[in-house]
């Protein structure tokens, strides 16, 4: 038996980042247990929202979310879905996506936000940097390694983009983990076993996998997923319907994008309301003497908007079973996670698709980050099982003669995996060859990337033996290299994906950009903390004025002292100091806040 790999250090290195479309979470190991990174209000749910001002100010998380209706043009929601979106996806959202996009650039969405055009990767990187620094503040140590969740439908190049964004954000080591695989790990960690279907369904994506635990390996039997079928789609439908009603009553709106954002935020809440109570009312209050607009939405409406989501879910379930060569009856458990699986109609639909009732996960919203943390522990050698045997999410193929497709690697092949193909030239002394690479994630092949080979030694047509190696790593990222084998000469190669970064752009970004951007990321976090700090200050000042009658002298003095301390450090550079002072201030004010709440409740009750 070989020696076991030695442990690198006693400190856990990897932190778990569940980068969600709507909400993100960060978890880290604390002793045998775990802890979440929370904001100053103690909330572990970090909205995946970022706000950029023209002057270079950046807000992220709750601070950005809370201001989105004020600055819709400057505030981007559902950041992650920008990676799989194109101009054709976001433009139809009209007033709900009030950011001009550059439709000349087809390989990655370029969004004008904060009066400056930025590629999607940079926006994701800014947000990831915010998450990373938040983790550093909570852990009080540098965080440079992370396990980051990813939707199953991300192509090898989407995964690449996400990984480069993480590197730009200061994560030197990144391991991507498919969301349903993360949930499966959380499910296993909770002591379950057997063969399970796992679905995660959130604001942006539906991701699913069939898994089983076998001899300490987490075997992935098949995966499938879909983009543009999440909670965002329901919110947009609901908000679109209501905005239509508003326009009917008030005519053309002057500040449409502000109202649209207000309505979108309200729609999200109404969706939850319908799930809980069967109905919810959306209303736009009286503004500038114009009449209020009200509309009640019910389960029936929700059901109608879920229709296309259900159709897509059926397809995904069918594909999972077919790919794994299994029937419904072969499964032991169904595990559901993500906010959308709380909608009864969708939950029941998935249960019907798999012929099972959904089992328990400790918390369906925390499962993904806890599973990512289980993986982080494994990477840190704090636990030795399960080792995951993950699979390729889409078949890769090349166009053969007569337009038929010849697969290089099939969907479901265990990764890391690869294949070599041999090509030759058609022309005398030909030095360049282009190969079109295709992918099949569902039932149809679609172009994925163009491979441009150069520096082929000039030879007679058909003589060069060009060996192209396709290698998919454990994150599902594709690497392509080429060699002319008769002369053993490595060839020039440029990969140009339909969506994502070209191979030279990846190299250039990794070499130079992170250092340039580091200062900007730092400022983003400082701004966020300052904004929260100011908020704490203002709200407590207001509270001590309003509740002058119930505040004790000692309390007043302590709050004033802590407030002064916070004010002093607020504009400084030391983030730890800001965080500590803000926490101390809240601590000092907690008894007062509790009495204030009690007093308010009594007023309401009488």
């Amino acid at each position: 038996m070989a020696a076991q790999p030695t442990r690198q250090s006693t400190e856990p290195d990897f932190v778990a980042f569940d980068l969600g479309t709507g909400t993100s979470r960060i978890a880290y190991a604390r002793g045998e247990g775990h802890a979440f990174v929370t904001d100053l209000a103690g909330d572990a749910r970090i909205p995946s929202v970022i706000a950029l001002s023209g002057g270079g100010g950046i807000l992220a998380g709750a601070a950005a979310r809370d201001r989105q209706a004020l600055y819709p043009q400057h505030t981007l929601r559902s950041l992650r879905s920008l990676l799989t979106a194109g101009p054709g996806t976001v433009t139809p959202r009209g007033p709900f996506f009030p950011h001009p996009v550059n439709s000349d650039v087809q390989t990655m969405l370029q969004v004008d936000v904060g009066e400056r055009e930025r590629p999607a990767i940079e926006l994701i990187a800014l947000f990831l940097a915010f998450l990373r620094r938040s983790a550093e503040l909570a852990l009080e140590r540098p965080v440079t390694a992370g396990v980051v969740t990813v939707p199953t439908c991300f192509t090898p190049f989407d995964r690449q983009t996400l990984r480069v964004a993480a590197r730009m954000a200061g994560l030197e080591r990144v391991r991507l983990i498919d969301e349903p695989i993360a949930v499966a790990e959380a499910w296993l960690a909770a002591g379950h076993s057997g063969r399970a279907a796992v679905c995660t369904w959130g604001a942006g994506y539906l991701s699913a996998a069939l898994v089983e635990l076998q001899d300490g390996f987490l075997r992935v039997l098949s995966t499938a997923g879909s983009a543009e079928v999440g909670g965002d789609q329901i919110d947009l439908q609901l908000a679109g319907d209501f905005l239509g009603k508003v326009k009917e009553k008030r005519g053309q709106l002057e500040n449409e994008s502000h109202i649209a954002r207000y309505v979108l935020v309200a729609a999200e809440k109404a969706k939850h309301g319908i799930c809980e109570r069967g109905h919810a009312e959306l209303q736009l209050p009286i503004v500038g003497g114009k009449e209020a607009v009200r509309q009640t939405y019910t389960n029936e409406d929700l059901d109608r908007w879920c229709e296309s989501l259900r159709t897509e879910a059926s397809r995904v379930c069918e594909q999972l079973l077919t790919d794994a060569g299994l029937l419904k009856g072969d499964l032991d458990a169904l595990v559901l996670a993500g906010g959308l699986t709380r909608i009864p109609a969708l939950r029941e639909h998935l249960e019907t698709c798999f012929g099972l009732s959904a089992g328990d996960v400790p918390d369906p919203e925390e499962a993904a980050v806890l599973g990512a943390l289980a993986r982080a522990r494994l990477l840190d050698h704090a636990q030795s099982e399960p080792l995951v045997l993950d699979v390729l999410p889409c078949s890769l193929g090349l166009e053969a003669q007569a337009g038929s497709m010849s697969p290089i690697l099939k969907r479901g092949a265990v990764i890391p995996g690869g294949k070599r193909e041999v090509f030759t030239t058609y022309l005398e002394r030909q030095t360049d060859v282009a190969i079109q690479l295709f992918a099949k994630a569902a039932s149809d092949w679609a172009p994925l990337a163009r491979i441009e080979l150069s520096q082929i030694p000039p030879m007679k047509a058909g003589l060069p033996a060009i060996e192209v190696s396709f290698a998919v790593d454990e994150d599902g990222v594709l690497e392509v290299t080429a060699l002319e084998t008769t002369k053993q000469k490595p060839l020039g190669l440029e990969l140009r994906p339909i969506r994502g970064l070209s191979s030279s752009a990846v190299r250039a970004t990794l070499e130079s950009v992170p250092k340039v951007k580091a200062a900007e990321f730092e400022e983003a976090l400082r701004e966020e903390l300052r904004a929260r700090g100011r908020f704490v200050l203002e709200s407590l000042r207001e509270l001590s004025r309003r509740r002058a009658g119930i505040i004790t002298r000692d309390e007043k003095q302590l709050i004033a002292k802590k407030a002064k301390e916070l004010e002093e450090v607020l504009e400084g550079a030391d983030l730890m100091e800001i965080r500590t002072c803000a926490q101390e201030l809240e601590e000092a004010a907690r008894p007062l806040m509790q009495r204030d709440l009690d007093a308010s409740l009594q007023l309401l009750l009488h």
């Binding site: 690198q8 080591r173 080792l387 265990v414 890391p416 995996g417």
Partner: protein, 210 residues
């Protein structure tokens, strides 16, 4: 792939799947034998064991070793894969086409009609029409099982001939008769037909949602 002394993954050369598993190129293997070796090697070169390693090259080597292992396992883990590998490593592989096995040639049309009727009934949600076909489907299942058995026996004969050649090849790549290659490709084509058929019959026996 993994150093016996230090436990660190090593760069791997292209040696072919049988050598990765350290076994002669016989075609008759129990899946469990290959599986145990696969798991043993995977436990030592899985890239997740080296993600935290200071030296990025160690992670690269592990990734390469695991890729080689997975590629070899994919080539050998099932009978069809091994047959395909034997053909391509002999330079004799041709893409097979759907072929109706001899035993089913007389009833291919009836099979098509019954399956189409069952699948239409399911799509239309017509349980009565679906039930009306179940007797036909049951007899089809018997025929399919029989064809599967014949196919299995034919593969056994192909494997035996190959393995005999391996035994007498003294470590060289085995040489078999010309007929073996054409029969092997035909067998792959029949396999494709049978796989689709078996799946459709199996699915057709279950009313959706039951």
């Amino acid at each position: 792939m993994v150093c016996g002394r230090c436990g660190m993954p090593q760069p791997v050369e292209d040696v072919g799947p049988f050598a990765v598993f350290g076994i002669p190129p016989r075609l008759t293997w129990e899946a469990a034998e290959l599986h145990a070796t696969y798991q043993d090697l995977a436990r030592r070169c899985h890239p997740d064991l080296f993600q935290a390693h200071r030296d990025e090259r160690v992670l690269q080597a592990a990734r390469g070793a695991m890729r080689t292992l997975n590629d070899a396992h994919r080539a050998l883990k099932n009978r069809v894969g091994r047959l395909r590998y034997a053909l391509s490593a002999s330079g004799r592989f041709e893409e097979p086409t759907h072929t109706v096995p001899e035993g089913l040639q007389g009833s291919a049309q009836i099979i098509g009609r019954v399956l189409a009727a069952v699948e239409t009934a399911v799509v239309q949600g017509n349980r009565e029409a679906w039930e009306a076909q179940q007797d036909h489907l049951a007899s089809l299942e018997v025929q399919t099982d029989k064809a599967e058995q014949e196919s299995k026996a034919a593969l056994g004969r192909l494997f035996n001939e190959w393995d005999d050649a391996v035994a007498s090849s003294r470590g060289e790549w085995p040489r078999v008769s010309e007929g073996w290659y054409t029969q092997a490709i035909r067998w792959l084509g029949e396999r494709q037909y049978l796989e689709t058929l078996t799946r459709r019959v199996r699915t057709g026996r279950q009313w959706p949602g039951s």
